[in-house]
């Protein structure tokens, strides 16, 4: 598997580490239920999903990769900081 780092170009997946699905942080003061869902509940979509990957063995940037869980193809990669 290869991830196209927006800073470094396509690199082997061994340079990257995985964090998990991209989820918005609940607003300050959000109800406990919102935090519970944020921390523990995950969708398991069959298809594209946005995930956090860090180019830990490269530029160290946190990236958002859109990966298809069926084909494993990565459709898009952007820097997490670039919204």
């Amino acid at each position: 598997m290869r991830i196209d780092c927006p800073h470094c170009g396509p690199r082997d997946r061994r340079e990257f580490s995985y964090r998990g699905a991209v989820l918005p942080l609940p607003e300050p003061g959000a109800a406990d239920e919102a935090w519970f869902a944020h921390v523990y509940l995950r969708d398991n979509p069959a298809g594209p999903i946005e995930e956090y990957w860090q180019h830990e063995g490269g530029c160290r940037a946190w990236l958002v990769a859109t990966r298809d869980t069926i084909s494993h193809r990565i459709h898009a990669v952007r820097a997490a900081a670039a919204r």
Binding site: M1, V39, W62, A82
Partner: protein
């Protein structure tokens, strides 16, 4: 045939062997000779060795079936001692001088094998036997059944000790990867290579040419091998082309990544210096041309596993490529037009052809002509009903088209059930093959992105078509990668007739094998189907069809055809079982590469390592680091004596410890303080300059992520520390917070752990030592530089340093950091400067002991399951602010007063020792989960107090101070009474550190 050097069955002429040189080798007890260019199988056949192994289940005698990687029978052990390698296929092993090979799965010898009794017991060992028999009683499994099965099932023996050879893992990048160097692959590589693309051409064989090496077809007016050699020569001359012979591409992965294993030195007695035995390539290719060829199938008929029954294509390979006659009198049995070539090649090499048996009622004239030319009768519409003989084939029974039977004396049956395209790699990313009725083969479904399938792998069996397809695909692949070229001129080549009819099995009484390696018979498949396991994937598990080292390369399709017939389904409906990597077996050595033993992962050494070694430190692994555990002195015979002396040294005078492994994280920027307030419990914006604070960081779920310190070096500059084992994760977490959560904040995060060497100097006389270490002019008095102060100073005569007044031992303590390159000099200087004060080096054990004496939490307490509250830091949690983990840390269960919280403990009987892991029980309660009140997390002998002490998590926490509990450790069989106390045992008021 004439008896020549290199074996009595060696043909007088021809072949791609170097007749003038001779190689001696051993097989079991026999001494034999062969030539360069031989495989072990061809050399054995040249010497008349037909019996090469015993089968897995029935221990039936087995001979060489194939001439390639698909071989199910001829599995041998190679080499001796620690280089011994089991389950190698004799058909792909190149012989070398002094090679030792041994047959497998026989006892006491290959000719006389006791396990063959299983053959007589066959009716009692049906498919699913193990599932049915070894079920009950459960207790028998480990002690009786498993050892029994393991002894019976062993195919080969692993080497007794570690492999002495080196293996490598490498990356390779190319525009066009061509897999297979037969006619299609060579043309593809030529087209792409001439266009200027970076080409990698990989082939599992040691000689390029594929099927051309085994056939007599002429290409462009030359012999096939000569043409292949010429093309290979041109490719080798192109700087942009890399040839990888002896290299099997065994797996396809996402993003155009392919895994391949190159057998660099397997064909040599011992790898030359600085040369690996094998190399694992990760090849990243923009485009791929799969020209992997096809694998011939046998036919399922009684006795079809006898030594002497050989695939027809393999017979031609042994005749043409290796100049070996695998028999003296042959029967050709097939239902396709290859029979003509087989008969012609046999006759041309002087092998008598007893008959050409073609299951088709009306074979084409070419087959009849070839049979006639070979002087053999053509038996059309006939089938073989039995191969006779034991370890040696004696003849075959044939059922003629008219229903009558004949016996044909022969010692070789060249059998062909047709060819199956080698499409394994097309399925590794999940695509399902589809059935092509015209070609009687499963062809690739949608191949992996960027891959084109050509030649025999795409079902094209004619040489001219393979050449044309390969050239076009190579050109297209180069163009897609940005290299325009022209189609190479196609050489003249034969257009072999490829007529075929289905021929899977012959219905006749007797044991007919579908899968040779696993001894799966036709009857086993029938049984599996009757018992409800007839679907392809079920049948595989139930009968083991298609398992083990060959993965059913020669048998799967026949098995599937038989199942389809049993189930009354078309073959197309019975999808093949999933192909997964590796295509052929890959050694663990190649997968591990150099990452084994001490090189499994990098070992980090502290800046004081050389000094500590001189001081005879005993080292211990701590995360990725090797750290000094203690420094034994003469006369100290156990570690406790050294640790006790070191602790006393620190508490009574002064000690020195390398703490460089602690993580150091530099945080700078206009928003550094507000960023830190969002990720930790500290009120960093209120933290004074030049002060150190204890730091706690929570995870989003409210549990503690790590602890450390935060030092404010400037208004916009903080230096954090993190625990040795967690620093990588903490840095990554902080970077995630910065980039994913709050990219608008102006903050930069840098891991500076290895940039600084840091030493703790602790003890009542620490100030005297530091006063000499720090350059004059810096006031170290308690007023000027109190506890928790920090400053950037110069030390040791002008070296820039950072000085912290912090203590992990509870004593008056400093930590001094210097650029890592000065670390070795600094530790030596501190020892000299502290000599008058009696400075002692202390290690990780003494440090750990003193932190327990002080009740400071460390790894055993900050274990991912404890909250700030559990650790006694509830007051640190700010009431305001939206820091990470705040909401979840307030969950009712996490603030329950009965939740286990940090306490100290000591044994009632002060002479007893404590063990971490023991569980708290009230006196009188049984040792059960229901009565469990918590556990002991850390325990040590306190030299300061003279008895054991511990830390633990107890329900109700400090409310139990003064009470007696039991610490039960059923695992180690101890149970002792302990007194609960506050977690700090030494100087609870903290006067020493503040003095």
């Amino acid at each position: 045939m004439s008896a020549l050097r290199g074996g009595p069955h060696r043909l007088a002429a021809g072949g791609l062997i170097e007749r003038e040189s001779r190689i001696s080798f051993r097989f079991d007890r026999g001494h034999f000779a062969g030539h360069p260019g031989d495989t072990l199988a061809s050399a054995l056949l040249a010497n008349g060795v037909r019996l090469v192994g015993r089968s897995f289940k029935y221990h039936r005698p087995r001979g060489v079936l194939s001439a390639g990687a698909e071989e199910p029978n001829a599995l041998v052990e190679l080499r001796a001692g620690d280089r011994r390698e089991p389950n190698t296929r004799a058909t792909v092993v190149e012989i070398f001088e002094g090679l030792e090979a041994r047959s497998q799965n026989r006892f006491p010898s290959l000719r006389f094998d006791l396990g063959a009794i299983n053959g007589l017991l066959g009716p009692f060992i049906p498919a699913g036997f193990y599932y049915k028999t070894f079920m009950w009683p459960a207790a028998f499994w480990e002690r009786l059944y498993e050892p029994l099965i393991r002894r019976a099932a062993g195919l080969g023996r692993a080497a007794p000790d570690a492999d002495p050879d080196a293996y490598e893992r490498c990356f390779l990048f190319c525009d066009v990867l061509v897999i297979g160097a037969g006619p299609a692959g060579l043309m593809a590589a030529l087209a792409a290579g001439r266009a200027g693309a970076r080409v990698v051409l990989a082939d599992e064989d040691f000689r390029l040419g594929g099927r051309l090496l085994a056939e007599r077809a002429e290409i462009g007016g030359r012999s096939g091998p000569a043409w292949a050699e010429e093309v290979a020569g041109e490719l080798a001359s192109l700087a942009n082309v890399r040839l990888l012979p002896r290299t099997t591409v065994f797996g396809v992965y996402d993003g155009g990544t392919y895994a391949a294993v190159e057998r660099v030195a397997d064909h040599l007695p011992v790898p030359p210096p600085f040369t690996p035995r094998q190399r694992l390539w990760r090849i990243v290719a923009k485009r791929t041309v799969l020209a992997a060829g096809a694998i011939e199938r046998g036919v399922v008929f009684p006795g079809n596993d006898r030594p002497g029954v050989m695939l027809a294509g393999a017979v031609r390979a042994y005749l043409n490529r290796f100049a070996v006659a695998p028999g003296a009198r042959a029967v050709v049995f097939s239902a396709n037009d290859d029979a003509a070539r087989t008969a012609a090649d046999l006759a041309a090499c002087g092998v008598a052809v007893a008959a050409v048996v073609d299951a088709r009622p009306e074979p084409p004239p070419a087959v009849a002509a070839a049979a006639a030319a070979a002087g053999a009768p053509l038996l059309a519409g006939a089938v073989l009903t039995r191969a006779h003989g034991g370890a040696r084939l004696t003849g075959a029974s044939v059922r003629r088209a008219d229903g009558g039977s004949d016996f044909l004396g022969c010692d070789l049956i060249a059998v062909s059930g047709g060819w199956s395209p080698t499409i394994h790699l097309t399925s590794h990313l999940g695509a399902r093959p589809h059935w092509d009725e015209a070609r009687l083969a499963f062809l690739a479904g949608e191949p992996p992105p960027g891959m084109a399938v050509v030649g025999a792998a795409a079902g094209r069996m004619e040489t001219d078509a393979c050449l044309a397809q390969g050239a076009a695909a190579g050109l297209a692949a180069a163009a897609a990668a940005g290299f325009a070229g022209v189609l190479p001129e196609l050489p003249d080549a034969p257009h072999e007739s490829a007529g075929r009819a289905p021929l899977w099995r012959v219905k006749a009484p007797g044991k007919a094998f579908v899968d040779f390696q696993n001894d799966v018979t036709e009857k086993d498949l029938a049984l599996a189907n009757r018992e409800g396991y007839g679907a392809a994937e079920h049948a595989k598990r139930y009968t083991t069809l298609g398992m083990a080292t060959d993965q059913g390369k020669t048998g799967n399709l026949n098995g599937r055809a038989i199942l389809a017939e049993l189930r009354g389904e078309p073959l197309a409906a019975l999808a093949p079982t999933t192909f997964r990597p590796p295509y052929t077996p890959v050694s663990f050595g190649a997968l591990a590469g150099r990452a084994r033993g001490p090189a499994y992962r990098p070992l980090r050494l502290t800046p004081s390592h050389a000094w500590a070694t001189e001081w005879k430190a005993v080292f211990v692994e701590s995360g990725p680091w090797l750290r000094a555990a203690y420094f034994p002195e003469a006369g100290e015979h156990d570690w406790q004596a050294s640790v006790t002396r070191e602790v006393h040294g620190v508490r009574r005078a002064v000690g020195l410890c390398d703490v460089s492994t602690l993580g150091k994280i530099d945080v700078q920027g206009a928003d550094a303080a507000s960023f830190l307030e969002r990720v930790c419990l500290n009120r960093c914006s209120r933290q004074p300059l030049g002060r150190v604070r204890y730091l706690l960081m929570l995870r989003e779920d409210g549990f503690v992520l790590d602890d450390g310190t935060a030092t404010r070096l400037g208004p916009e500059h903080f230096l954090l520390t993190a625990s040795t084992a967690h620093v990588a994760h903490v840095v990554s977490h902080l970077e995630w917070c910065r980039e994913a959560l709050w990219p608008e904040l102006d903050v930069a995060i840098t891991d500076v752990t290895e940039d600084w060497a840091q030493f703790a100097v602790a003890g009542p006389r620490a100030r005297e030592v530091m006063a000499r270490a720090v350059d004059p002019g810096f006031d170290l008095s308690n007023d000027a530089f109190p506890a928790q102060a920090a400053a950037e100073v110069r030390a040791f005569g002008g070296i820039p340093a950072r000085l912290f007044r912090i203590s992990f031992s509870g004593e008056l303590g400093y930590e001094i950091a210097v650029p890592a390159g000065f670390g070795d000099a600094a530790v030596r200087a501190l020892m000299i400067l502290g000599a008058a004060q009696g400075i002692v080096p202390y290690g990780l054990e003494a440090m750990g002991t003193m932190r327990i004496e002080k009740g400071f939490p460390a790894g055993p307490e900050i274990n991912g399951q404890t909250t700030a509250r559990d650790l006694g830091f509830a007051k640190m949690m700010p009431k305001e602010g939206a820091y990470l983990g705040r909401a979840m840390a307030a969950r009712p269960a996490l603030v329950d007063p009965e939740r286990p919280a940090l306490v100290g403990l000591r044994p009632r009987d002060r002479s007893r020792r404590l063990a971490a892991g023991a569980h708290f029980l009230v006196p009188g309660a049984g040792a059960s989960l229901a009565n469990d009140l918590g556990f002991v997390s850390s325990a040590t002998f306190s030299p300061t107090l003279g008895h054991a002490i511990g830390l633990g998590f107890l329900q109700g926490g400090l409310a139990h101070v003064g009470k007696t509990m039991r610490a039960a450790d059923p695992l180690r069989g101890s149970e002792i009474e302990v007194e609960i106390c506050p977690p700090c045992f030494v100087d609870p008021a903290g006067e020493r550190a503040h003095g």
